[in-house]
């Protein structure tokens, strides 16, 4: 029996000083450039994301290249630092193609070896933030879908591709292997969809006579796509943590200030208990998300389980925090000008992204041998 009941090594669940410095830099950038009114104004424009913000985040802070080795133009950091960036991006719901390009696409290219050739070149461009690449699969694809995705040819239509509108390059899985396709080339159409989450655009990608560069054959490509989706799912937990944390903090702030019945509403026990319960879920989500980030960073054999646990927990924690945020804000929580709705939409969309909680629980069942009847 190979039940994984013992973690391979004790994970480091804390934040280092370097990570806290990175957090401060990202947080103050987002506070300056992506406060709530700016984000709301941005989603009502036609641009998929704020280019100046992206330049500052990607090149200025160097956040886009955290996973990429220094010799390829990156920072040579790890998933732990990336997780901190994603916590902050979750707290601000700023539209930025970070998770899709700097995490999933980057991780796929890294897994391909990046010893040289087109993958290495593209990796450097992603690391500097000068290009954005996304995986041409529906945003709902889970790590378990990697093998099934390696099918067909370049001729295809893929619906629900996250941040395709922001992409310069699409990574397209086919039966032959993984192709890089320039979105500006002939035979490539990116048709924006109306998405539930206003801060993360979705699009339908149609390839009709498009040409691409083969990055890897089917075998290594399957593994690389699986690794990309695993990293995406694992680090999405940190974004969800950030969303949940913002929702709790704002709800506490609001209920301390808002008076009804001649008392701050936050002094009513029925509300206090709900917020205390949310706090407990947020600190639990933090432990789960840190565990996944650390497992990815150290290449622990525990990684698939750590990621499945983090997704199964953090998806629901973020949705609940956002739903409670709207409810405990009362009427103002239902308005367009208050940012609570942006977090609810992000949280709900995130709960489907890279596999639902239910799919991740199925993964847990397989990994720890708790089979269905």
């Amino acid at each position: 029996m190979t039940v994984q009941t013992e973690a391979a090594q004790a994970p480091d669940l804390l934040y280092t000083e370097t990570e806290e410095d990175l957090r401060s830099a990202v947080r103050s950038l987002l506070a300056d450039r992506a406060d709530a009114p700016t984000v709301i104004a941005g989603i009502e424009s036609d641009t998929p994301y704020d280019l100046r913000l992206w330049e500052s985040l990607a090149a200025g802070i160097g956040a886009a290249g955290l996973l990429v080795p220094e010799k390829l133009g990156g920072q040579g950091a790890t998933h732990r630092e990336v997780a901190v960036v994603l916590e902050e991006l979750g707290r601000s719901v700023a539209p930025a193609p970070y998770l899709t390009s700097a995490v999933v696409a980057t991780e796929i290219l890294l897994a391909l070896g990046a010893g040289g050739g087109p993958a290495a070149g593209l990796l450097s461009e992603l690391a500097s933030g000068s290009k954005v690449a996304v995986l041409a699969l529906p945003f709902s694809a889970s790590p378990a879908d990697a093998a099934a995705a390696m099918t067909g040819t370049l001729e295809r239509t893929v619906s629900g591709v996250a941040e395709a509108a922001a992409a310069d390059v699409l990574l397209v899985p086919t039966a032959d292997g993984l192709y890089a396709v320039e979105t500006g080339g002939d035979g490539v159409a990116v048709q924006p969809l109306v998405a539930l989450d206003l801060t993360r655009p979705l699009a339908t990608v149609t390839l009709d006579g498009a040409s691409g560069t083969l990055l890897a054959d089917a075998g290594p490509a399957t593994e690389a796509v699986g690794r990309g989706l695993l990293a995406g799912a694992g680090l999405l937990a940190s974004e969800q943590l950030g969303v949940a944390e913002w929702c709790l903090t704002e709800t506490v702030r609001h209920t301390r200030e808002r008076h009804q019945f001649n008392r701050p509403v936050g002094s009513f026990q029925s509300l206090k208990h709900r917020m205390a319960q949310l706090w407990l879920e947020v600190v639990s989500a933090r432990a789960a998300a840190r565990n996944a980030a650390d497992a990815l960073a150290t290449g622990s054999p525990d990684t698939p389980l750590a990621v499945a646990v983090a997704q199964a927990y953090c998806s629901e924690a973020a949705v609940r925090a956002a739903e409670e945020c709207v409810q405990l804000h009362g009427g103002i929580g239902m308005t367009w000008e208050h940012p609570a709705h942006l977090y609810l939409k992000r949280a709900k969309a995130d709960s489907i992204a890279y596999g639902t909680a239910g799919r991740h629980r199925e993964a847990v069942a397989a990994l720890v041998e708790l089979p269905a009847p």
């Binding site: 009513f268 026990q269 708790l370």
Partner: protein
């Protein structure tokens, strides 16, 4: 005594203890007494009181050396109240005589302690207690009733809070005592519980005389002293590492793996959800432990008891359902008097019923949620009408 006690020194002292008292040939109680006298009981306590004035973080060095040598431990489960609650309070507020008299037999388990705090009319609102202590010469005469007293039937000593001034608001008229459980007027009656057994007691105090020399802290300051006790009660969680599938989830997953005929789809979904929650609770405890080791204690500890209480209850409820026809049975309803709460050695029905106490004992989940809301999140306290009213004038 130099303050610079280091790990090497602690390790050397532990080796010397083991050499002088080989665990294989030394009587258990003798070994524990020698360990106390060597300052290796709790290294952060003062020299002469079982410690070395060393940083608390050096205790694991001692524990690891002793565990490797298979030395007996002082069974913290059996002496939990003494160790976790009485000892830090005596250390903080006791006189030199009290420390010398009580700490050694407390630590070695020669004397078991219990806690006379809760009353039938004062549970979550502990400061409303009505047990009276009236000064009579050099003694106090105590009358009242306490409840939920684990270990009272085996305890030699008790920590006791009683009202010494009914004319001031409730928090201000309380004093803190050490009560001799063998004194005349102390009557312990088993309190039979939902599980059928009596792990707790009711304690009736009738004209019990306690010498003033066994008071802890100033007269009327007992509430402040009790805060030390209660804080230590809640701090004890989170110190130990739990393996994956440790705790209640382990028993139900074992049954799931071994008995495929019991599986249903509904139970599978619920089991997986609880498995994930138990794993996340384990990780949250691990993160708290790492914060403590790094010297940055986080507030997570306030929530861990809440999480474990709910998980224990849900998992044990699921386990009874999983067992189906067997879940309809119960191990033994005869009246028994256990000294320990033992979840793992018992059947599913016991686990289900006993876990109901997890959200009540040591502070109800509702009170803990208030504490998290007010002290961690900084939410405003509810308005109170009992703060400036003399205890005797409160409605009861």
């Amino acid at each position: 005594m130099s303050a610079a006690v280091d790990a090497a020194q602690v390790r050397r002292l532990t080796q010397e203890l083991l050499a002088a008292h080989p665990p294989a040939t030394t009587d258990r109680a003798d070994f524990l007494r020698a360990r106390f006298d060597a300052g290796l009981a709790w290294v952060h306590y003062p020299v002469g009181l079982g410690g070395l004035d060393a940083p608390r973080s050096l205790q694991p060095v001692v524990d690891a050396e002793l565990a490797a040598a298979a030395a007996p431990d002082n069974d913290p489960r059996r002496i939990g109240i003494g160790l976790g609650m009485a000892a830090p309070t005596i250390l903080g507020y006791g006189t030199e005589e009290q420390k010398q008299r009580f700490l050694r037999p407390l630590w070695t388990g020669d004397e078991v302690w219990c806690q006379l705090f809760s009353e039938p009319g004062a549970g979550s609102d502990l400061a409303a207690l009505g047990t009276r202590a009236v000064k009579d010469g050099d003694s106090w005469v105590v009358d009242g009733q306490k409840v939920w007293t684990s270990s009272a039937h085996v305890a030699r000593w008790a920590i006791l809070i009683a009202r010494t001034d009914p004319d001031v608001p409730k928090h201000r008229g309380i004093s803190y005592f050490i009560c001799d459980m063998t004194d005349p007027g102390v009557e312990v009656r088993p309190l039979r519980q939902i599980t059928g057994e009596a792990e707790f007691n009711e304690v009736f105090l009738t004209g019990v005389r306690i010498p003033d020399s066994r008071r802890l802290g100033p007269v009327g300051d007992g509430w402040k002293v009790a805060q030390t006790t209660l804080m230590n009660e809640r701090v004890s969680i989170g110190g130990a590492r739990i393996p994956r599938e440790g705790g209640m989830i382990g028993t139900v997953t074992k049954t799931w793996r071994e008995r495929p005929e019991l599986r249903t789809h509904d139970l599978h979904q619920r089991l997986l959800t609880l498995w994930v929650e138990a794993e996340v609770a384990r990780l949250t405890g691990e993160r708290l432990r790492q914060q403590l080791v790094a010297g940055q204690p986080g507030p997570e500890g306030s929530g861990m008891k809440l999480a474990f209480a709910r998980l224990n209850q849900e998992i044990s409820g699921l386990e009874v359902e999983l067992l189906g026809d067997e879940g309809l049975l119960y191990g033994d309803w005869t009246m028994r008097r256990p000294e320990l709460v033992d979840f793992t050695g018992r059947d599913a029905g016991y686990r289900y019923l006993r876990s109901k106490g997890n959200s009540i004992e040591g502070g109800t989940s509702e009170v803990l949620l208030n504490i998290v809301a007010e002290r961690v999140l900084g939410l405003p306290v509810e308005p109170r009408n009992d703060k400036d009213v003399a205890w005797k004038d409160l409605a009861r």
